[in-house]
Amino acid sequence: MSNTSNDAKLVRMANQIATFFHSQPAETRAPGVATHINKFWEPRMRRQFFDIVDNRGGAGLDPLVLDAAPLIRRPAAENAGEHASAN
């Protein structure tokens, strides 16, 4: 489902978040990254994120992002077949 250019973009976004938290007090860094991703990333993005972490050894991700990964909420299984109900 994901292609490399989109992966690169996602990695870049995650690393940008980590870059900000690198300069914050040590104990807030990993939780800061995780909270941010939990709050703002749609499940599809988090799914793609975990695909990179789980299946591709987190290639390209800042070590701080990997530290934060256990604190990031895993999205529910894909709802591809799920149909919206009217109303």
């Binding site: 976004m13 870059t19 749609e42 999205p75 709802n79 919206a84 109900s85 109303n87």
Partner: protein, 959 residues
């Protein structure tokens, strides 16, 4: 309905708290000290005749009509320039006054044309009124003497006569009707602050002149309309009044252009709009306006406006006009099909920051309750989303902290990444007024904006930093304030978390953050930075105003936090005259954010994962809401290219022109199966649409806009929607077609729902707004009058939070291929993507985007003024004409994005703010080279746009 006529008190109100009592015409009157006798009389209901006085400008005392007699004082003092004093006994009407006034009027009328019946001001002329008031029956001097009225005197040319100046597209200047009261000159100086008008000559030769005896459009005049409003005769007259006649009723409404949110009277004759006049009681604009709100409304009747719904199978097909029912059924079927085929999350929508709160609320409700996901976003994504994040983290709310009136009490102002005289002109004028009274100004901007030096204003410091170095600069200012001990310890201990402050203070004190250390990054001398920091910390009430030059960077959110840190460190929060003031771009961008337009937030900025908040809406809407955040605009486009996002409903936004990296946007749109655009015109995004739903203008619907100061202002319908439906009705009918049982009969019912679900709007209703005029949220039991100033008794989050702001250079770097930095902005006469203003006479001032380039960079490249140049970045290239100016520093180029044929966003990249994905519009590495004309891409794009605007059975529509 009546024509609203505000009372003209003749002179401005006095702010003194000391009261003075005097007697006028036998009535005891008590007014604030410093009030003029003229104003005191008017407050007692006694109208002293006047011509040169009006309460929008200071008293001048030239017309000699407002004379009064004061017991015990000799002579006949002018009531406009004579202040009240305790115990005065004033007579406004005595035999002597009557004679003198009549004599004065005789002189005026002896040099004034007597064409009242055919004059455009007939019925709205103060000269006519005064002739009546003083009982003028005869002009003993006759009309044959020296005059400015007749082109010829007894067959000979009259050198004192001047023809009418019709150069301005919106108003005329007829010197023959001028009584030289100077009201226009003073309005231009005192209200607008442009100083474009003057009185030339002396005595009988005196006359009003634009610039150096130029016509209006060639002069410095910015066409704000203040002079026209001030003119007591038909000398300065709206062309629309000349064409149509005097209005018969008026309705107060809110301008649909920028985030200042000016109140206007829409003056009507039947359903025809005669003119828009700024409303004196408007709390944001206090009776002032700019060229856009005052005059540029003609787009509502422009021939390009689309009035019928249209559908097409493929975007290469011509459009086919259909009935509304067909259009709604088509959209509902398509969205249901797509969701069935690709999953519930494969569709979404974009709410409009130009539409009303009520309309925005409905679009996000349709997406959350009807589509069953949270894929909703709004144009704030690309402008002030970092403000929401940055201020939310530090203060606990994204709200700007002040009202606009606050500027009247400020002593030192930082303007960073904003150009108020162009982008927020009415606020710009209010700021300039305060600067002329002595407030100090610090401008932090790569470009020498007009505020840096203008008539009677000059910034104490201009820090022309390199684009992309805001965080380094703001942190260096903090470095100076902390290391020199200029911070406000009492405020910080009382209101902020002291240990967080200590952590932050240690961080900013590091040598790496000193002005000297960052000089090489910003290109600004350390001495200037130190001076500016000292001024801001010690100059009294300090306020910070900022715009998209702060937010639209990869460190946009960090810069907003740095601004908040500065305000807290200097104790400049929680009272008038101080604060952090985001200048919002569009009329209702504040409102669209308030209304839950972001994919992670329900109305009132409550996170979608919060069970209690979801519960409120689930109960009311009778649906289960998705607790996961949805996709943001750039994420939607990524998902579309990837194949998981297939349908979008876009109300009133032109993402193809306004969003960065045009090629990526078009690829995303082209990958979708159903793109629905609701707009006034076939905008650029509509080139990729399958369904077009015609929109309505702000004149055609009821609702509310919320401006940059959180002020909820009423928008009132003054004419029937030409397309048949107001935008909220279109969304409702679409929702009904999708099976939702909505049944709103008026936008007030939508506001009631907002108030019932959103604590910060708890007391807001149309009845309450009718009573209060307008209110600033939060408006609830705790703040029944609304909240002009935030954080008065402490921060919303409890303790103010200092956050470290480490500067990180953007990845967008100059190099041998792209050695210059491009930054973008806007211009006074045009608005955003220009869809509205380009369809008005405002094109007189700006009919194309130009590339500003420093003479040094131009010479190196062999570029002359006006030459076509090629502007290229790693994202794309375009061509436009060069404007050579030292307003930009060497190494920096600048352009606007108002015209689709330039498409500046072909150049901008997909880099964005780390926290919010707000695009980095303000920094792009580019190369500029001479060119022969439009790029291949522009030609292709132009042809594609032309093809995609074809409507079956109609002649090709012009852009």
């Amino acid at each position: 309905m009546n024509l609203i006529k505000e009372i003209d008190f003749g002179t401005p109100a006095s702010k003194s708290e000391k009261m003075v009592t005097l007697t006028i015409d036998g009535r005891e009157v008590t007014v604030p000290e410093g009030t003029s006798i003229m104003r005191a009389s008017m407050e007692a209901g006694i109208e002293v005749p006047k011509l040169c006085a009006t309460d929008m400008v200071d008293a001048f005392g030239s017309c000699r009509l407002c004379l009064v007699e004061i017991q015990g004082r000799a002579g006949l003092p002018a009531s406009c320039t004579t202040p009240v004093a305790p115990g005065l006994v004033v007579s406004t009407q005595t035999p002597r006054l009557k004679d003198v006034r009549r004599g004065v009027m005789e002189l005026y009328i002896s040099d004034h044309p007597l064409d009242c019946l055919t004059c455009a001001a007939n019925g709205d002329c103060e000269l006519q009124d005064m002739a009546g008031a003083v009982g003028l029956r005869d002009v003993r001097y006759g009309y044959d003497g020296e005059n400015h009225v007749k082109a010829r005197n007894d067959g000979a040319l009259n050198i004192k006569w001047q023809p009418k100046d019709e150069s301005n597209p919106y108003f005329t200047f007829d010197p023959a009707k001028c009584i030289v009261c100077s009201r226009c000159v003073r309005a231009c100086e005192e209200v607008q602050g442009t100083f474009a008008l003057t009185i030339e000559g002396r005595g009988f030769d005196s006359r009003v002149s634009a610039g150096m005896h130029e016509d209006f459009v060639s002069s410095e005049c910015v066409s704000c309309g203040a002079c026209v409003q001030a003119c007591p005769t038909a000398t300065l007259q709206e062309k629309s009044v000349i064409e149509i006649g005097q209005p018969e009723h008026s309705v107060v409404t809110t301008c649909a252009y920028c985030g200042v949110g000016c109140s206007f009277k829409a003056e009507m004759r039947g359903e025809e709009l005669v003119r828009m006049v700024p409303w004196k009681d408007g709390q944001a604009n206090r009776g002032h306006s700019c060229v856009k709100g005052r005059f540029a409304y003609g787009y509502s009747n422009h021939k390009d406006r689309i009035l019928n719904p249209m559908v097409r199978e493929k975007i290469t097909d011509p459009w086919r006009e259909v009935t509304w029912e067909e259009a709604f059924a088509h959209v509902a079927n398509e969205f249901r099909r797509i969701q069935y085929q690709y999953g519930r999350d494969s569709v979404g929508g974009i709410t409009s920051s130009r539409c009303t709160n009520e309309e925005t609320y409905l679009v996000q409700k349709l997406i959350r309750a009807g589509f069953g996901n949270n894929n909703v976003d709004t144009c704030a994504r690309v402008c002030h989303s970092p403000t929401g994040y940055g201020l939310g983290q530090t203060f606990g709310t994204s709200a700007g902290t002040q009202n606009f009136d606050s500027v009247e009490e400020t002593d030192v102002v930082i303007v960073i990444g904003a150009n108020p005289t162009d982008g927020h002109p009415v606020f710009g004028s209010r700021l300039k007024k305060r600067l002329r009274q002595g407030a100090k100004l610090i401008v932090i901007d790569p470009r020498r904006i007009d505020l840096v030096k203008g008539p009677h204003i000059e910034a104490s410091y201009h820090l022309p930093l390199k684009p992309g170095t805001n965080v380094a600069m703001l942190t260096a200012l903090a470095h100076v304030i902390v290391t020199e001990g200029l911070f406000d310890e009492r405020f910080i201990r009382e209101r902020c978390d002291w240990s967080e402050f200590e952590d932050w203070a240690a961080f900013v004190s590091e040598e790496a953050h000193s002005p000297e250390a960052i000089e090489a990054l910003t290109g600004v001398s350390a001495e200037l930075v130190r001076g500016a920091a000292r001024l801001f910390a010690t100059g009294g009430n300090g306020s910070i105003y900022y715009g998209l030059g702060v937010t639209e960077h990869s460190q946009g959110s960090t810069a907003v936090m740095a601004i908040a840190n500065l305000a807290m460190a200097t104790g400049n929060i929680g009272r008038p005259g101080v604060g952090v003031n985001p200048l919002r771009g569009q009329n209702n961008v504040q409102g669209s954010c308030d209304m839950g337009s972001f994919p992670h937030e329900l109305p009132g900025y409550r996170h979608i994962s919060d069970d209690a908040t979801r519960d409120i809406f689930e109960k009311l809407w009778g649906v289960k809401l998705n607790e996961e955040p949805g996709l943001r605009i750039p994420n939607m486009l990524d998902a579309a290219v990837e194949g998981t996002f297939k349908g979008i409903y876009i109300q009133g936004e032109d993402i193809l022109q306004s969003d960065p990296d045009t090629k990526h946007v078009s690829a995303g749109l082209a990958a979708m199966e159903c793109v629905v655009v609701q707009d006034l015109f076939l905008n650029e995004t509509a080139n990729y649409a399958h369904v077009f739903l015609p929109g309505s203008t702000f004149l055609e619907k009821d609702g509310t806009f919320t401006n940059a100061e959180r002020r909820i202002n009423r928008v009132r319908r003054v004419m029937t929607p030409r397309n048949g439906y107001a935008d909220w009705e279109v969304t409702q009918k679409l929702a009904q077609a999708m099976g939702l049982s909505w049944n709103y009969t008026h936008p007030s019912e939508i506001m009631d729902e907002i108030a019932a679900t959103t604590p910060s709007f708890a007391l807001v209703s149309y009845d309450y707004l009718e009573k209060m005029g307008s209110v600033q949220w939060p408006c609830n039991e705790k703040n029944p009058q609304g909240s002009p100033i935030m954080h008065v008794n402490g921060f919303v989050r409890g303790k103010g939070k200092f956050i470290r702001t480490e500067y990180v250079a953007t990845d967008e770097k100059t190099g041998p291929r792209f050695p210059l930095l491009l930054t973008t902005g806007r211009i006074l006469s045009q608005y955003n993507v220009g869809a509205q203003t380009r369809r008005t006479d405002n094109v007189v001032w700006h009919d194309e985007d130009r590339l500003e380039i420093h003479p040094h960079d131009a010479e190196n490249r062999g570029i002359r003024e006006g030459d076509w140049v090629r502007l290229a970045s790693r994202a794309g290239e375009t061509t436009l004409r060069a404007l050579i100016t030292d307003r930009v520093s060497p190494g920096v180029v600048y352009t606007t994005f108002h015209h689709p044929d330039t498409q500046a966003n072909v150049i901008t990249t997909d880099f964005s703010d780390w926290a919010t994905n707000c695009p980095e519009y303000k920094v792009t590495a580019v190369q500029v080279s001479p060119s022969n004309g439009p790029s291949e891409w522009q030609i292709e794009y132009g042809e594609q746009a032309r093809q995609s605007r074809r409507i079956a059975g109609k002649l090709e529509a012009a852009e």
